[in-house]
Symmetry: D2
Subunit: 424 residues, 4 copies
């Protein structure tokens, strides 16, 4: 199924008058409306291929229906999202779940939907059928060199697939760790991880980057070999300029000040990008902004302040992606909500009066600094997002259009009720 622009425009027409009223009101309230709208139009968030199906937990999985059965259908779903919000112009593939049999035809399909390929992701946290050696005890950090070699080669293979599709980054998340004290020698594990990554690094094409993710626990419950930003940074630093640290918002211990980490990684030139989601307990992989939207805003405030261009588009070289698990929502609806939440946080951060904030900071005027931050946050910026979407050819109300067009019902009819996407 595809949604064409005319359909969207027709539905927009009904909603236009009230949008117009809201937008005009807001445009009068704030400065630089046009600049902000241009930045919002330019800002896209990648969709990971594995987030297009229903997710689950170790206790089970409750399928929805009409889930994509192939790479082509995954691209089709991202095309639907992008047609609605004009903010998701790329897809991030996961190998081996998404091996393209015919790269040129896949590229053509994506291109036709206005999409390109974001970072490619390797997978050494599961064993695949017919895999020679097991990752039960890790991959790039494994005590057995043969296993490490297998994992290195897999990563290099992933780069190859990415090259064919036009990706320029390899995203590496390692589940490697230990479940029990004594299982692992921490230093040896770190050193072998470094050596393995150096081999992968050596295979990177000139214009490629490698993004090193960190996570404190799960699926290992005593230690993770790349467990926090400091460990990821240490590796990225030893690897070289193409390596940097990827921040998944759910990959932190309770109460971590994530925005401070983001700020420091920016300072050191080592911020690779984000896997966006929200969480209350651990790596809950919930819809972005559903638990603590203010934290998301504070992160964007650091990004806007820290990036010279103050324009978070593709040119910054920073990766923007959602990484969530949709256990009880329609995956496409969840992704539409997530993209909306991210762009709301961005728009609010763009409203911050950075000069006044700096002045308040220099005066240690803490109450004023809070007023400045909260003023921007409390502003209802949704009309700005709607206007940006409108101008870019998207829907004023993406989720409503998704429902009124009965997209999911159509997908179920096309694909069936019992399909299951590869992924989590």
């Amino acid at each position: 199924m595809q949604i064409n622009k005319e359909t969207v425009q027709n539905i927009n027409n009904d909603a236009f008058p009230s949008h117009q009223r809201r937008f005009n009101y807001l445009a009068d309230e704030i400065n630089n409306v046009e600049t902000i709208i241009q930045k919002l139009i330019a800002f896209n968030i990648a969709i990971p291929s594995w987030a297009l199906g229903t997710g689950g937990t170790r206790f089970g999985r409750f399928s929805g229906g009409g889930e994509p059965r192939s790479l082509e259908e995954k691209i089709e779903d991202v095309g639907l999202i992008h047609a609605l919000n004009r903010s998701s112009n790329s897809i991030s593939l996961h190998i081996p779940w998404d091996i393209p049999d015919n790269a040129p035809s896949i590229k053509a399909l994506a291109s036709q939907l206005g999409l390109h390929f974001d970072a490619v992701n390797s997978n050494t946290f599961q064993d695949q059928p017919n895999q020679a050696l097991s990752y039960k005890f890790g991959s790039l950090h494994h005590v057995d060199k043969a296993v490490r070699q297998q994992a290195v080669e897999h990563n290099i293979e992933v780069i190859k697939y990415g090259e064919e599709l036009g990706s320029t980054a390899l995203s590496v998340w390692l589940a490697d760790g230990s479940n029990f004290p004594g299982q692992l020698n921490f230093r040896n594990a770190f050193q072998t991880t470094l050596e393995s990554l150096q081999q992968v690094y050596a295979a990177l094409p000139d214009d490629w980057k490698i993004w090193i993710e960190y996570k404190p626990y799960e699926p290992n419950f005593y230690s993770t070999t790349i467990g926090d930003w400091g460990q990821s940074y240490l590796l990225a630093n030893k690897l070289g300029a193409k390596a940097s640290t990827l921040v998944d918002l759910g990959h932190h211990l309770p109460n971590t000040n994530i925005e401070q980490i983001v700020s420091l990684l920016l300072m050191e030139g080592k911020l690779a990008g984000f896997h966006f989601n929200d969480s209350k307990y651990g790596d809950d992989d919930l819809t972005v902004g559903c638990i603590n939207p203010y934290q998301l805003y504070l992160i964007f405030n650091e990004l806007v302040e820290g990036l010279d261009a103050r324009n978070l588009n593709h040119a910054t070289g920073i990766g923007w992606m959602i990484d969530a698990s949709h256990n009880v929502k329609d995956p496409v609806e969840d992704l539409l909500q997530s993209v909306e939440a991210i762009k709301i946080a961005y728009a609010q951060a763009l409203l911050v009066d950075q000069d006044k904030l700096k002045q308040a900071q220099l005066n240690n005027d803490v109450a004023r600094a809070q007023e400045i931050l909260q003023h921007a946050y409390r502003t209802d910026v949704r009309p700005l997002l709607a206007e940006a979407r409108l101008r870019a050819g998207g829907a004023l109300q993406p989720l409503e259009v998704f429902r009124s067009l009965k997209v999911r019902e159509n997908l179920i009819q096309e694909r069936g009720l019992k399909t299951v996407t590869t992924g989590l």
Copy 2:
């Protein structure tokens, strides 16, 4: 120093046109504007006497200036807050820090400023000079009956002071606990606490209530005898109908779902009220709504939904109070920000379309339920608060008026730069 209505009105006049524009816009967007405004006008949050001075930590305290030196000056400060926001018409005293020498004159002073007396608070977590027995190892839970008796009598004395001033509730926070495994027999500690509270309960006047606070840790770092809502509820239940459970937002373990606790206490008729603040790590006692305003909103959503009247005024019998420690902000400014944050959360919760939310819940339409909640939350309700203040005789922009009138500078001139309020 006092702020009179005319001064406030004059300043309001300048800000009125832009307020008018914002309010009119919002009034068109939402239903029942008038009902909401009446509820906002009726909703007041008590100010604790100890929050009017600069707070500190075990590592030190950095005074501001012009802090109130007496009970009279504390009441004066609450009067200033109330003159600005018309939402803080009561003060909560702490004995022995605020023993009124002359209750009628204190009542008259408060009354003149439009204030009354909220719950009174006992203190058995510190030793006072000339105190016969020490609370080093607890008070109502102490192994020594004589210490328990002293603590019981102190609580009864606090009730007496409260009666003279027109309070109708005793708020009990016990620091009693242990720092080390083995220090305490948990069951004995619980039983002696219950017996002590029963004695205090027996001394309650007919129309009084007793509010039992809970807290997991600090100042004890292994166990607290009333450590969570379940333990407080157990005590309140055994005590009787006048006893209920007080929720301090900072008194929870990491990641606690506070709104669920609030909902269940409401269900059981055992919600005493709140000590509002915000926190990132523990009992940080920060300005309300400065870290996770969405959580505050979710709590108010439970309150609006759970209380029949849906009108959180004094008539509900529920206590609303701020409890914060202002270490780096002007205390009055901090309190103005806190009251604003609370009323924003309340106004947003009043905007929730409860019928649609119920319908979505009955359909397990999770995405829709989130849309409904977030729509209300994302609405900029500040014009509603401003309008409510305006009608009640307060300032459109309380914090700005506080600064433009140079209130703190005046207080410093009156009281001196080096004053230190009793409290934390």
Copy 3:
């Protein structure tokens, strides 16, 4: 495969001299050796059927080999454990994973191995093939009465299976909860859960009990309808005398004082029993005692002190069970280690000089109280456990015997390398 007593005895003979030396030394050091040994012999910990296979996470599962393929083989595995440690004389079944086709024959098999049947466990957190209605949005708390009815009937059916096998308790763990704010009305969810449980309760045979488990999160990541001990206690209290609260050590928020909860539940007569495991982050389901053995000891200290008989055998009516997920260890080895850790904690707790401890507590002699607790904990009690096993016909060194007899290799030969047990 079965291990007979003679085999064990023969191996014991080699280890006996050094055991004798250690035991004699220890027997001289402590009082009441005989009483302690009798208690250790009497104390058995149930094995859950689902813990006999390799566990996994949402990211994957790495099978071991020789996992039991049927209920009979699961019972066989528990028989092996019990033959080695003489401390695991019962198995806890999980319906529908372990539906006995022929109850009498299953009972006979168990009986032949010296085993009986512990609590039976219902499962409403997964959908089974051919199930009429889905538990995607909960079971006993579901908004749809028909789903609740289906879940109630399942629980009643589980009781029936349990009765046939001689069980006397139903253990209920509900995954029911919500992933997003707004998804659920907390009070309605609690009330429907209560009503559903009342129906199950009504179906309990006279001598049966119902154990209500609580858990703060996972598989739901915003709220769980029975989320903490207070909520479970509230339900158990409303249900009646047969209902009580089950404590799974991994089902708590960070930093929870579990031993205090245990103590208070004992005080209220509402402690159902335990699911033992250890964890560092969340419900990690690691080997008992592998992360914080001192906490386990403190829990046993409460049990020994709180139970009149001070003898934690079956007669207390309290349930003792392991609940762990063996992702990287041989399940049987992991269970042997877990039972050992539990009995070490019990033995240490039995060494505590309760009179001196009480005296220290009455004197607020905190340093002394710690000395008393740590003296017992620091004592190497392993010779006591070995002696108890020896007298009961078990192995002096169960894990070593398991390996020297090549039990796993035998099981792989019998059952195959690629078997997968039902369970987590």
Copy 4:
């Protein structure tokens, strides 16, 4: 008061026979007893001057009695500890609390008691009377260069005091941080901290080191400028070879794997040393080993494995210090318990069969690795500590001797009941 060797020996004589029995038994059980005892004798843990008095919280402080009133009396107290345990041969001073008026006489006093001076600690988290500029908004990170300069000069002055006494390390703990989002620009704060530290670094004598402590929160409750090991490491790395990272066990977010951090800092040559304590919630500053002694042991296991010499004496250049707050125990008793707990963990770690552990790790034999670690941990090593103390001229049972000699009663008589030590 001083305790002389003869007194200790006389008391030892009574306890000797049972010690002898225990030690002989243990000596037979383990290898290399003599090597271990020599290492235990050589291993000393410094006592911080501020830990000799009763500590408190923001809610109050309950003094004990006989607290040291001067630097001389603090040294006297450390002398008492060392006379009893022969494991605390140095004191760590805190400036300005412990400014020596006459360094040579202070050195002579210490020397007479067998003590030397460990790292000196600066204090820029409190304002001192007559201090020109306030640290309310930070010190080395302050937005105002004049405040930074004052703090830099204070640190340089501390080095001077340290030089006079023979210290060779400056320990820097910065409370600098923020309480509210927006208060601080994280990157600027980091950069100014770095610049300030560079000035201090430049003033270090040739043989000195600077130890950079980290802490996530308290006394600031939103951000801390040196908040985690990664941030401290980043600074230490930019500063140079004399700078490294100090680990306070209580300065971590919930569930942090501290032993992994220790291992990686060792790997990078950046482990400065430790501030030992234990905690359940935050920086609780409890007696070492009173909450999770297994974690302490795992840390020592990393140290023993990671340090070439496997001898943690002064020669490693690593700092070993207790940092605790004794709110309800006699400070000296608490320190005796803490030193005991540290040395127990060290002794247990020395018992680990490192070769077998490595082999198990290479085989991914996780159950075996755990057995090896837990075997050493479960061994009762107290006779080894007693023997080491005996040979070094200390007491077999330090705490018992402290009590039987009525040391505290004597100190109260000498110094009075109401003394209050400077410190926390």
